[in-house]
Symmetry: C3
Subunit: 105 residues, 3 copies
């Protein structure tokens, strides 16, 4: 499962399809910034995981962005004054899970 | 992966972010009641699973609710007359899956 | 996790609920055709996986469909002329994952 930026998702899907790699796209949003992003479910043969990771690395560039979080990180909610902070977004967060069985009906 | 009530999701996300735990939010709905709920994807270090479960338990209270399911449970569809039943909702349903590899690109 | 066609999802959910099998529905879309489909998260006891697979097989019929993909498969984007191709859709794609722990809060 790979969580990627909204902006990078179309190019990533096109690159995966071009290599015959299958994917399902789920709309999602980040827990911290609450902005929309994309979670992709990729069912891959063991031998093609590295290839998929390389495609994700090529198409999902990581970059700096100035953002203002909606709520305090750890402090009390009522005395919170929102202020912009610099975070590293883009890139991709990938979880590789072992599939016990793959069934095509 | 944790399935929680719509109403509990914002407080749960805030509590997770406050402890520096990362999460991705997916819009979902229940198979039985067909009401909207929230599925959270939490990539956690092995050592922080208990802490995350404790945060989920604190913020997602389980409660009784009177509901009318849209379709029959097991019986024929055409002779179905909807009637309210008491179900236990809220709380959270959590599936802990072993992640083989975690890759940050 | 089972990826099924939009059209088959309501009947599949009804059949699962009728047998007391629990499910969560996530809105999704296909990587290739970019059409909406449905991803179901089914938390099942080990002994009921076969039963769930049989229900999915019965309710999700696979069929031929004429479609025109939005973008080229592998070739250059600028010289692409969309043309209809015959693909096999419907059916279901199921990933069975081992759950290490199931927690109900
Ligand atoms: N408590 C905190 N304090 C300071 N900065 C924080 C923070 N939590 C997140 N950030 C920063 O904000 C960016 C966006 O996080 P968000 O949770 O909205 O959006 C996240 C989230 O949807 C997903 N994600 C990342 N790690 C995850 C994990 N372990 N589990 C589940 N989802 C994850 O990927 C998106 C992008 O993550 P990425 O790491 O590239 O970028 C993160 C990170 O640089
Ligand atoms: N066949 C049935 N007969 C009688 N009562 C039934 C039933 N199926 C469900 N219920 C009751 O209705 C509540 C809502 O179920 P729903 O499927 O809409 O919404 C569910 C579903 O989206 C998800 N969920 C629970 N267990 C799951 C599982 N094993 N696999 C996937 N999703 C699950 O968590 C939500 C809340 O579940 P929770 O257990 O707290 O609460 C459930 C349960 O108390
Ligand atoms: N590169 C390609 N070249 C030619 N034909 C291609 C192709 N990629 C997909 N197709 C065909 O198009 C149908 C729809 O694919 P889509 O990606 O939109 O929608 C897919 C996708 O959302 C999901 N899916 C299938 N296999 C998957 C996998 N390994 N990983 C993740 N999602 C998968 O299930 C949906 C239905 O898949 P299904 O196999 O029944 O049907 C597929 C397949 O017959």
């Amino acid at each position: 499962m790979a969580v990627v930026q909204d902006k990078d998702a179309p190019r990533l899907l096109q690159a995966l399809v071009a290599r015959g790699l299958r994917a399902t796209r789920l709309a999602s949003s980040g827990g911290f910034l609450r902005e929309g992003n994309v979670t992709l479910l990729l069912g891959l043969d063991d031998g093609r995981v590295e290839e998929a990771l390389a495609i994700i690395a090529e198409t999902c560039k990581s970059r700096q962005q100035l953002v203002t979080p909606l709520s305090p990180i750890g402090g009390p909610v009522d005395s919170y004054v929102p202020y912009p902070i610099q975070v590293q977004v883009g890139g991709a967060t990938v979880f590789v899970l072992q599939v016990e069985r793959y069934v095509k009906l």
